[in-house]
């Protein structure tokens, strides 16, 4: 137990439910074990903390081999929405909250949330576009500074 993890900084770089949930679960799990946690949202992962988008994150049914679905079937209109709805129901059953509630939960648990400066510039976003739990918009250098002395996990 001597080399217990004391701090983790988790990067969420992918959008979609399967891109966002693992990082959130890792961060929340860290806080539950008394481990200091930071979340850094970049590229499409940023959707998870953008107020207008965080509630509309879906699971991709095209180009997602994990779904075990042939392309033409996944491309039928409404298929992604249906798969998303099914997945959300299952998650609720096993007590995993929807993304906006999960963001609130990890923030209340003491995890710090950061947005990637380069992505914010690329998508022309402003601080007001983010949920109130977002701490600040930082660049990579600042991220490394914050992550110093801990583990970094890229998802």
């Amino acid at each position: 137990m001597e080399d217990k993890i004391k701090k983790v900084s988790i990067i969420i770089s992918k959008g979609g439910l399967d891109g966002v949930y693992p990082g959130l679960i890792l961060a929340n799990g860290a806080r539950m074990e008394g481990i200091e946690a930071n979340l850094f949202f970049t590229f499409f992962g940023l959707d998870a903390i953008v107020t207008k988008r965080m509630n509309k994150i879906k699971i991709a049914t095209v180009g997602n081999p994990g779904m075990h679905m042939v392309t033409w079937l996944g491309a039928i209109p409404g298929m992604s929405a249906m798969a998303t709805s099914m997945m959300k129901k299952t998650m609720e059953k096993i007590d995993i909250p929807p993304i906006p509630e999960f963001i609130e939960l990890v923030a209340d648990a003491g995890c710090k949330l950061y947005a990637c400066k380069a992505t914010v510039d690329m998508f022309k976003l402003k601080k007001e576009d983010f949920c109130p739990q977002m701490d600040s918009i930082i660049n990579v250098g600042k991220f490394y500074e914050i992550a110093a002395g801990g583990q970094i996990i890229f998802t």
Partner: protein
Amino acid sequence: MPKKQYGNAAVDVDAEGFLTDFGQWTREIAAAIAKEEGIAELTPAHWKVIEFMQKEFKENGQAPSVRKLNKSGVISTKELYDIFPGGPAKKAAKISGLKKPEGCV
């Protein structure tokens, strides 16, 4: 199975110190476990959490998640982390005499 001595009571525990027989739990033992976990005194807010956890455990066979504690109105997530510092779900379950929570959230 390992035993642990709290005052003049010997209780059965698992390798991590969680009680294996809830029947052996008492309020005094709870206070003693809390001290070991760095909580000097159990306040009414702690007891509210402990009682809810035990009730949930009796009904569902497992300790409630942090989310459930928050949603049930027993305690906010922030306050829970404040009063059980360094691992709220695990510590609260241990003090409540329940087994270690298995959920991921």
